[in-house]
């Protein structure tokens, strides 16, 4: 579990401060080319700019997740109830309550309480699983789906405003990090997409 022994490339000045390896102003195209190589390669080649992408991703997610939670509350659901409803409707077929806990990374007792609350609101229904009569599974009701649609529409409306304040570097740095979360960062299609975007950014 300990470090692989990989030595990150960190340049230092005489006072022991790590130096920015790439301080050119119009460096978006270069950054996108770096991020297109995949998170592991980027981390080895230029750690400072690899972290830049992570910092963008975390900033975007923090803002978007807050926005989602606010819209859930405006739609009459506590944020975690909304997340549970999303996992239940997003699942292929009725979702056992223990799977709700797993998908939300929470304790089974809390998942069970959330499901009960959603049931009382008429947003999910409980059913016995035919294979195992002891396990109950939940699926979203029509009303539950409508609530999700309403919140989703509000989210789409509000997200636009936030995105207008993001730089291209911020957008694509975040996307490169999300690709890493999903194991898609070394996919050559990401490099193609980022290099095309970099050429665009360069021309504008």
């Amino acid at each position: 579990m300990m470090s692989s022994g990989r030595t990150p490339v960190i340049k230092e000045d005489t006072e022991g401060h790590a130096l920015e390896p790439n301080t050119v102003k119009d460096g978006t195209a270069e950054l996108l080319a770096l991020w297109g190589k995949g998170a592991h390669a980027a981390s080895d080649l230029d750690f400072a700019n690899h972290v830049k992408a992570i910092a963008h991703a975390r900033f975007v997610l923090r803002k978007i997740l807050r926005l989602l939670d606010e819209q859930a509350i405006a739609g009459g659901l506590q944020p975690l109830q909304h997340q549970a409803l999303l996992q239940i409707f997003g699942a292929e077929g009725p979702l056992p309550v223990n799977k709700v806990a797993d998908r939300l990374d929470i304790a089974p007792a809390l998942a069970s309480r959330l499901v009960r609350q959603l049931e009382e609101k008429g947003l999910v229904h409980r059913a016995r699983i035919p294979d195992d009569r002891r396990v109950s599974a939940v699926h979203a009701s029509e009303a539950g789906i409508e609530v999700l649609r309403g919140i989703d529409n509000a989210v789409h409306h509000h997200v636009n405003h936030f995105q207008r304040g993001l730089s291209d570097e911020g957008k694509f740095g975040a996307l490169a990090t999300f690709s890493f979360y999903l194991g898609l960062d070394a996919d050559p299609r990401l490099a193609l997409l980022l290099s095309a975007a970099g050429r665009q950014a360069h021309h504008h």
Binding site: M1, S3, S4, R6, P8, I10, E12, G16, H17, A18, L19, E20, T23, A39, S43, F47, A48, H50, V51, K52, A53, I54, A55, H56, R58, F59, L61, R62, K63, R66, L86, F89, G90, R103, D105, L148, R149, N153, H156, V159, Q163, D168, G170, K171, F172, A174, L175, F178, Y181, L182, G183, L184, R189, L190, L192, L193, S195, A196, A197, Q200
Partner: protein, 196 residues
């Protein structure tokens, strides 16, 4: 609020060459489309559910690795924003607070804590002597590199839990988060480049 009547322009299919490949990559990854969103709402929500599931698991891995290396999760997040802002100018406390979505007083306390740990320093701004910039030290960068290494090892197993098509679909949700949905300016710019 939803523009169901608005059909997003489809990517052109006719041209060959690298730009067309980029266009295909874009459309595969980023093109949710309002029509698809309302027509196939369940499939769309499945993508959201997958994206959120992965996010939750990755965040937990990152937080656990930060703690293992002696950093509280939020201090680790602060250090990431400081180092990610670049070493040339660093970051001001107020910008750091905005990037972390926390109160300025709280960000200031975190900077003090990181300073005590020797992971950041404060420097007077060259342009404005009254302002101070926070800059990561070499040992701060080293700490981030160690945590990053562990995260890379631990995230790999997560990625295998989703099929390839599920990962691509989840990525379309993230693409929407950053503003790469079909109606965005950058999407139009990529389309225009593909057509030229």
């Amino acid at each position: 609020m939803i523009a169901a009547s608005r059909s997003p322009p489809r990517p052109p299919e006719r041209k060959l060459g690298p730009m067309n490949d980029a266009m295909r990559a874009y459309s595969k990854w980023a093109d949710i489309g309002d029509a698809k969103r309302s027509r196939e709402f369940q499939a769309y929500v499945k993508n959201i559910a997958d994206a959120r599931y992965v996010t939750r698991r990755v965040f937990r891995i990152v937080d656990e690795q930060a703690k293992t290396h002696g950093l509280e999760p939020l201090l680790h997040q602060a250090l990431l924003q400081v180092y990610g802002a670049g070493q040339a100018h660093g970051i001001t406390v107020s910008t750091l607070a905005a990037r972390l979505d926390v109160a300025a007083a709280f960000a200031s306390r975190m900077v003090r804590r990181l300073e005590e740990m020797g992971l950041v320093t404060r420097e007077a701004s060259e342009s404005d002597r009254r302002a101070t910039n926070v800059v990561a030290t070499a040992s701060g960068a080293q700490k981030l590199a160690e945590i990053d290494d562990e995260v890379h090892h631990n995230v790999a197993f997560l990625q295998h839990q989703l099929r390839e098509d599920e990962r691509l679909s989840a990525l379309s949700i993230f693409a929407f988060y950053v503003g790469l949905d079909p109606e965005s300016a950058i999407a139009e710019a990529i389309r225009a480049a593909a057509e030229s």
